[in-house]
């Protein structure tokens, strides 16, 4: 333990102690006589002092104990690591995806047989309210964009949303999110591509679909085919890039803080691991619906 | 035959005999006469012969008149 570390420990301890004392004082009866604005300012000051002191102390202790070096050096691979399961070599993200499915299965079963029977017609509360809003808004959204096939596609979009949210949540546990793997996103893109063509053919017939591609002039036929293939690829790459970028930034942050990586990554994680994936999920779903809509028209 | 004759109290024998004679003329001579007096007879006589009563008194006439008037 070097001299610097000792100094750090002392300083942080003093800050922490001062902060706690100040908070206790501001809450006691002596401070009541002052005017409210000043009291608030003082309280805020002491809260900040407490937090800072605490963080500093914990960080110092951890970095001393675990010898973690802070630096901006991270390792990542484009494809996720592979695990060996039952003699098969699977990507880590595939395993996590399967786990997500399993978890969702359990939750759905619980919902179906325990929570759903308790649904009431009047005054929905809590979970019932949340799910009602989710299902209803998805239905409305799908109807406005897809019109005819919203019956089948609304649940699919709902599923995509669930999957993306759960995979973002898995990032919080330190695992590599499935959506940050190009293979996973490409799988989602392929399914969407299949759906586009399937519904396009269903609505217009094969001849109609090809004719649609050939209008206004047959010259645009190859370009249309190219753009059609570009759709799933773009969807996949967009999602993959965004998720991977988020993951890299979080990793950078953690490694930069080294032993002091308490609290701050969590706050940043709220954006990168919750908000950002939700936006991306929304974009993915909206674009899928737009393309399918285009094929149906 | 017996005839009972009732006469007023103040009658004379002469008159009485006249009555008897009159009855004798009618019924014959074989008659026994009985004489009775009654003050209430005003005039005339009552004779009873063989169950037949001959009433010539004024009293009876007055009674008859009274009877007739008061009907």
């Amino acid at each position: 333990m070097g001299f610097l570390n000792v100094v750090e420990i002392c300083v942080s301890s003093i800050c922490l102690a001062l902060g706690i004392a100040g908070l206790a004082f501001s809450k006691s009866s002596k401070a009541v006589g002052d005017d409210p604005k000043k009291a608030k300012k003082r309280k805020r000051l002491f809260t900040v002092l407490t937090l800072f002191g605490g963080w500093f102390l914990i960080g110092t202790l951890i970095s001393v104990i675990s010898n973690k070096k802070s630096g901006i050096e991270i390792e990542f691979s484009l494809l996720s690591e592979r695990l060996n399961i039952f003699g098969f070599s699977l990507a880590e993200t595939s395993v996590i995806s399967i786990c997500i499915t399993a978890i969702v299965l359990v939750l759905s079963l619980v919902f179906r047989f325990f929570i759903f029977p308790k649904f009431t017609f009047d005054n929905p509360k809590g979970i019932q309210n949340l799910l009602e809003i989710a299902v209803e808004s998805m239905d409305k959204f799908a109807k406005s964009n897809l019109m005819d096939y919203s019956g089948v596609l609304a649940p699919y979009m709902f599923t995509l949303g669930v999957f993306m949210i759960f995979s973002a949540a898995s990032e919080l546990f330190g695992l590599r999110a499935p959506t940050s793997d190009i293979v996973t996103t490409f799988a989602m893109g392929i399914i969407t591509f299949a759906l586009i063509n399937f519904f396009g053919i269903k609505k217009k017939g094969i001849g109609g679909r090809i004719k649609g591609m050939a209008s206004p002039t047959p010259l645009v036929f190859p370009m249309k085919i190219l753009s059609d293939i570009a759709v799933p690829v773009s969807l996949a790459c967009r999602l993959f890039g965004n998720m991977l970028g988020g993951m890299i930034v979080m990793d950078l942050l953690k490694s930069a803080l080294g032993g002091y990586a308490t609290g701050i990554p969590a706050v940043a994680g709220i954006y990168f691991n919750l908000f950002h994936p939700i936006i991306q999920a929304y974009i993915f779903i909206v674009l899928s619906m737009t393309f399918i809509n285009e094929a149906i028209e | 035959m017996t005839i009972t004759i009732t006469v007023p109290a103040n009658i004379t024998d002469e008159t009485y005999n006249e009555i008897c004679e009159g009855f004798k003329k009618r019924y014959g001579n074989d008659i026994t006469f009985l004489k009775e007096t009654d003050e209430k007879i005003i005039g005339g006589f009552i004779a009873e012969a063989n169950g037949i009563v001959y009433d010539t008194t004024i009293r009876s006439k007055l009674n008859m008149v009274k009877k007739v008037i008061t009907e």
Binding site: S77, L78, L79, R82, F88, L90, A91, T93, S94, S97, I98, I100, T101, V104, L105, S108, L109, F111, R112, F116, F121, E132, V135, E136, D139, P155, Y156, F158, T159, L160, V162, F163, P178, V183, T184, A187, M188, I191 | P8, N10, I11, T15, E18, I19, G22, K25, R26, I42, G43, G44, F45, Y54, T56, I58, R59, L62, V65, K66, I69, T70
Partner: protein, 163 residues
């Protein structure tokens, strides 16, 4: 970075299957029940609304017919009142006629009674007078009758008897 294509393809297939299975699970266990529930509730609300609407319409109709009913009952009440009045009037007339008749009968009866009473009185007065007259005559005759009268009577009697 080394890319093992076969492994990647296997992963791809696994992921596709995974998403499809996930889709089926969510659709069957979560989405469908909630949707059905919402539809049921909407149907129930519609039913209640239409029921309420029906009741509202009924109420409106009842309100409309209320006036008609009030008018009708008023008319009926009038007719009934009229009828009752006439009945009462008839009864009154009848009673009055009866009373008049009875009064007349009583009047006649009393007149008769008075008449007969008068007659009785006259009759008895006559009788009294007659009796009085006869008594007076008797008294007078008692005084005035003499032998001569008796003799005359006797003679008249026998004269007649002998005819």
């Amino acid at each position: 970075m080394n890319i093992n294509l076969s492994e990647t393809v296997v992963d791809l297939i696994i992921n596709i299957l995974n998403i499809v299975i996930l889709f089926l699970i969510v659709k069957a266990l979560v989405y469908k029940p909630v949707r059905k529930f919402l539809d049921d509730r909407r149907a129930k609300v519609n039913e209640e609304t239409s029921k309420a609407q029906k009741i509202l319409d009924q109420a409106n109709e009842a309100l409309k017919s209320k006036d008609t009913i009030i008018e009708e009952s008023r008319k009926n009440a009038e007719i009934e009142a009229q009828k009752t009045f006439e009945e009462a009037k008839n009864n009154a007339d009848f009673i009055i006629a009866e009373a008049k008749k009875n009064a007349k009968i009583i009047e006649e009866k009393s007149a008769e009674e008075i008449k007969s009473q008068k007659e009785n009185m006259i009759h008895s007065s006559k009788n009294e007078i007659a009796e009085l007259a006869v008594n007076i005559a008797e008294k007078i005759l008692e005084r005035e009758t003499n032998e001569e009268d008796t003799k005359r009577i006797i003679n008249e009697f026998f004269d007649e008897a002998n005819i």
